[in-house]
């Protein structure tokens, strides 16, 4: 990327921030926690990722890295079936859903391997020792080990950590308010990445009340990772 491209990105960020400052425009700004766990049986690693708007036109990009990992960068939330077919060619069975803001796939449509043993109370705990244990438990699940977030947005998938009979279930939600940038990081999309060794039922949309829950950046700094993180 050269000077002209970088400047264009900065200018678009400036435009977005101006649009955000303009009153009475669009839906309420939504902020999402970096790690939201669904209470109960399925403590899902649901991660919100800030992303600076790029200039690519393709809906998504899949590339195989020299180390064998696969980079998945989604630019537009359309045609998930094609993502599934392309991942299949790279040896990964995947079930990809794009979900509208405020909705989620109904829980229980598949059974995650190696669910972390974490209670809802522990997830909400402010005790650093408990938080540290929770973080480690979530980071060590097969689902977490099978992928990473890429700097600048996107996922890195590690096929060698996914057994042949496993299916990767991915759900992506894009924020309607696409205003974010280096100076004001904000979640533009969130994703769920889970591995299962059983069948995956189709996604049935249900309301996701957590999407609308406002989150105070001062009280939840971890919900606002730096842009590109």
């Amino acid at each position: 990327m050269n000077f002209e491209e970088r400047l264009l990105m900065e200018l678009k960020t400036e435009m977005n921030e101006r649009a955000a400052r303009r009153p009475a425009r669009g839906p309420l700004r939504r902020r999402l926690p970096a790690v939201v766990a669904v209470a109960g049986v399925a403590a899902a690693a649901l991660v919100a990722v800030p992303m600076v708007t790029g200039t690519e036109n393709a809906a998504y990009a899949l590339t195989r890295n020299p180390d064998g990992s696969i980079a998945l960068k989604i630019n537009e939330f359309r045609n998930p079936e094609q993502v599934e077919r392309d991942l299949d060619e790279l040896g990964v069975t995947a079930d990809v859903s794009y979900v509208k803001p405020g909705k989620k796939c109904a829980p229980g449509r598949f059974s995650t391997i190696g669910e972390p043993r974490v209670t809802p109370e522990e997830l909400r705990s402010k005790d650093p020792a408990v938080r540290d244990r929770v973080r480690k438990a979530i980071e060590n699940t097969p689902s977490a080990r099978a992928h990473d977030r890429m700097p600048g947005g996107g996922l890195r998938i590690y096929p060698d950590r996914i057994k042949p009979d496993w299916t990767v279930v991915m759900e992506f939600t894009e924020n309607e308010d696409q205003t974010s940038g280096p100076e004001k990081p904000r979640a533009l999309w969130q994703y769920l990445f889970q591995v299962t060794d059983g069948p995956v039922k189709p996604c049935v949309l249900v309301d996701d009340p957590s999407w609308d829950a406002p989150i105070d950046p001062l009280k939840n700094p971890e919900a606002f990772p730096p842009a590109g993180g």
């Binding site: 000077f3 400047l7 264009l8 400036e14 977005n16």
Partner: protein, 190 residues
């Protein structure tokens, strides 16, 4: 190359329209600055400043008053004269996007190439320094920046007739200073 689909009115709010406008004109704006400033970092800052100013002032564009490039060069001229009035530290504070921060080594060498290519133009500006401001402004835009008379009039916010008169006077004055301006630049004056 002129961007005609959407006037600049929409570019301050529509990211796609802005991107098209930017891609169409960023090279011209960079060269405009390279003809007047000989430091690559300052050129980068000024280019960033011009496009921020475009976002600020797209509402001032009126399609009847002249071409888009004329309007944009007007914005560029205002940006440059504002920069010359202010102290450098003030500029740094006022700039919302720092252009020089976005330059890498490759960009710097490309910027240096443009600065080299535009050095005859910078010499021409020095030669024109003795002209009255109003005449010099017209001559700059028409001869050095290659705008048409209507475009230059739009950039300066003056009538086309006035532009022609000033251009004529400036040409006459410069003809009396032989050897000051390189022949390539003088070609446009005959």
């Amino acid at each position: 190359m002129r961007f005609r689909r959407t006037g600049p009115v929409g570019i301050s709010t529509d990211p796609e329209a802005f991107e098209a406008f930017y891609r169409c004109h960023v090279e011209a704006v960079t060269r405009f600055m390279a003809r007047r400033v000989d430091d690559p970092h300052t050129v980068a800052d000024l280019v960033a400043e011009v496009f921020v100013a475009v976002l600020d002032s797209a509402h001032t564009y009126r399609s009847g008053l002249g071409s888009e490039i004329g309007w944009l060069y007007g914005v560029a001229r205002n940006t440059l004269s504002a920069e010359r009035r202010r102290a450098v530290s003030e500029l740094r504070l006022a700039t919302r996007i720092s252009g020089r921060r976005l330059l890498d080594a490759d960009d710097l060498s490309r910027m240096e190439e443009r600065l080299d290519a535009e050095s005859p133009a910078r010499r021409a500006f020095e030669a024109m320094a003795g002209l009255p401001d109003s005449e010099r402004a017209v001559l700059e835009l028409v001869v050095v920046d290659q705008l048409s008379v209507p475009e230059a009039a739009a950039a300066l916010g003056i009538r086309q007739g006035t532009t022609r008169v000033r251009l004529h006077r400036a040409r006459k004055a410069l003809r009396r200073i032989p050897g000051v301006i390189s022949p390539t630049v003088m070609e446009g004056l005959r």
